[in-house]
């Protein structure tokens, strides 16, 4: 063996979660049900997959509407092209496969046929980030947002649990045009308080109030950030948490507002810090001329090893502990002030 194994000694749990599990548990149940409901409410909805109906939880839909469930075989470029064609005929395709294949494999089809083609397709990339950690680097998807953020007019949503995903699906269907929904493992317990909460495309949501530092997160890192913020609160650091379930169009106002009010920003994501939320926030504050301390947690220009998602989030440095440490670290240094802003002078 040419490379030594990469383990964080204390946290490694081993091979406990299997591919099938994400389709059996909590948030996924909610998602599967939401899809059937959507199909019942709107006869234009069709599902399209590339041999992954079972693991992306399309089976209930298929049982309910067999003639509206399409499998193109393991052919992701064709998957996206077929969806564009269906949309051209007045249908609303919900396309499901793993994020790494939906986006990285089919990237140019997504840009040209869905984006430029302005097709009314809802592309769902499941098991994004390290949600399929045991699949190893070929199955990690840490570059999907970097690619898709550059596609004009494409709406990008990244809900953090099953209820939010269900609401995001409804919002995506109500939106006329291409939408990418970034979805993780679906094993987390859905936040019951959000069962009937409407999903509005665009705005970030303040999950925890605070004034010393703002943590911005989306998807699976939201819950990690909330827990880290509560710990920091107890350690005397007033920490704000902003969830960003919409990544495009980006809610620049909330970023600017947080930058002005807390002057310390930490982005956390299960995605590369190149092209992800880290980049989006850096671009936004720099263009606004604001002086802030900015830290970025996420995939850092290296491939993570194979492992369960919890381990990889720890190894990659974007789990609760890493966020907590980072909050304390950035707060040890004095924050810039409004006097340091370029535009204020």
């Amino acid at each position: 063996m040419s490379e030594s194994s990469d383990k964080s000694q204390s946290k490694v749990r081993g091979f406990t979660w299997t591919v099938g599990d994400h389709a059996l548990l909590s948030s996924s149940d909610v998602w599967g049900e939401a899809l059937v409901e959507a199909g019942r409410a709107d006869p234009r909805i069709v599902t399209v997959t590339a041999d992954l109906a079972e693991t992306t939880r399309l089976q209930e839909f298929k049982r309910a509407f067999p003639e509206r469930a399409i499998n193109v075989g393991i052919a992701e470029q064709n998957l996206v092209a077929v969806a564009a064609g269906l949309a051209a005929m007045g249908l609303v395709p919900v396309v499901c496969t793993y994020a790494t294949f939906a986006v990285l494999r089919a990237a140019e089809f997504v840009r040209t046929d869905l984006g430029y083609g302005r097709r009314n397709v809802k592309l769902i990339g499941t098991l994004a980030g390290v949600a399929y950690g045991q699949g190893g680097p070929t199955h990690h998807a840490a570059e999907d947002l970097a690619l898709l953020r550059a596609v004009p007019e494409l709406v990008i949503l990244a809900p953090s649990d099953g209820f939010e995903m269900a609401a995001a699906l409804r919002a995506a269907i109500a939106h006329e045009g291409p939408v990418y929904l970034r979805w993780g493992r679906g094993t987390e317990t859905p936040d019951a308080s959000k069962r009937d909460a409407p999903f509005v495309i665009g705005p970030m949501q303040e999950r925890v109030g605070g004034s010393d530092v703002t943590v911005l997160a989306y998807g699976p890192t939201v819950q990690e950030a909330e827990r880290a913020a509560r710990r920091a609160q107890r350690a005397g650091v007033s920490t704000r948490v902003l969830a960003a379930p919409t990544l495009a169009p980006l809610d620049r106002d909330s970023i600017v507002c947080a930058a002005k009010e807390t002057r310390r920003l930490i982005t956390v994501e299960d995605h590369s810090i190149v092209g992800g939320l880290a980049s989006a926030v850096a671009e936004t504050v720099a263009r606004a001329g604001l002086a802030v301390r900015l830290a970025s947690l996420g995939h850092r220009e290296r491939y993570l090893p194979m492992g369960v998602p919890e381990d990889l989030m720890a190894i990659g440095g974007f789990d609760e502990d890493a966020i907590y440490e980072e909050i304390l670290r950035v707060c040890r240094v004095a924050a810039p002030t409004a006097d340091d802003d370029w535009e204020d002078r």
Binding site: M1, S5, V12, A75, Q134, G136, G307, V308
Partner: protein, 290 residues
């Protein structure tokens, strides 16, 4: 059918297949889960390849002119790991870490982490193109290297597979031999029910490949196909296989594509493997096909 195998050699290969299958189910038991159906399906083809046709020296897996094997169906990593362990390319203690967080050895094998693996796969439809590049490279380097590539039938849905198939015949890659693990199952079900692939042999033939169809669990037949494909490529062997082969309760069942086994299931699986092995031995003793 011509018989290139002596009875003794046939028996030996059956013995290797037996041990590989045992390793597969034990590893799945130890790791908690794995692509067990896929591993058992490809087992006999890989055993034949590594025992008789692939020209590699386990002690020198970095020798540049060695033959190359590309596991295009990357989720067959468990099955490949078991074969590499049996061939002495992978140590037993390394196989024992299969699937542990941070271990180099997991469901998809990776040349950056595991000696003897030629390329990292797991995303379907990459392998044949890489194999074509290797075969072209060997020709430019004037190396005697043969290149073998194992595809799943599911990969015959990927456009990239056919792009690679076209370029292979256009380049007249005589040293390239592909094998399709034709078990007629993918993840969501049976190929002919979901999106039919037949007539598959005709498809490959029309792309300019030499095609043979054989029983992918009959060592004599597999061996003869490999021998005939030598220098006759691009050649493809459509190995008709049974997903989960060797463990009766897994055979041709989509739910055993990927699964977990507890200790009772492990015992049952080992019994089934031993039973089928005894039957295969008896068949060659009586001059039957296996």
């Amino acid at each position: 059918m011509e018989r290139s195998l002596t009875t003794d050699e046939h028996r030996r290969l059956l013995g290797v297949s037996l041990r590989v299958r045992e390793r597969v189910v034990r590893t799945v038991f130890r790791a908690g889960s794995g692509h067990v159906g896929a591993a058992l399906s490809q087992c006999d083809v890989l055993v034949s390849l590594y025992e008789r046709h692939l020209r590699v020296d386990p002690a020198r897996m970095d020798e540049p002119t060695r033959d190359r094997f590309v596991l295009s169906k990357g989720h067959g990593g468990l099955g490949l790991a078991a074969v590499l362990a049996e061939r002495g390319i992978l140590a037993d203690h390394e196989l024992d870490t299969f699937g542990e967080s941070g271990s180099p050895i997991g469901m998809h094998m990776d040349h950056r982490k595991v000696r003897g693996v030629e390329t990292a796969t797991g995303s379907l439809g990459h392998g044949l193109g890489i194999a074509v590049g290797m075969a072209l490279g060997a020709r430019i380097q004037r190396w005697p290297t043969r290149v073998f590539c194992l595809l799943s039938d599911g990969e015959c849905y990927e456009g990239s597979t056919w792009e690679a198939a076209l370029s292979a015949s256009a380049s007249g890659l005589t040293g390239l031999c592909a094998i399709v693990d034709r078990n007629r199952l993918t993840m969501d079900g049976f190929t002919e029910k979901e999106v039919p692939l037949e007539p598959l042999a005709d498809k490959w033939r029309s792309f300019g490949w030499r095609v043979e169809v054989c029983d992918g669990h009959d060592h004599a037949a597999i061996d003869a196909c490999f021998s005939r494909a030598k220098d006759q490529g691009p050649a493809v062997i459509l190995a008709e296989t049974v997903k989960g082969k060797g463990v009766s309760f897994m055979e041709q069942r989509p739910e055993w594509h990927y699964g977990s086994i507890d200790s009772a299931k492990l015992d049952e699986a080992l019994r089934s493997i031993a039973e089928q092995h005894r039957a295969a031995l008896a068949a060659i003793a009586s001059g039957g096909a296996r």
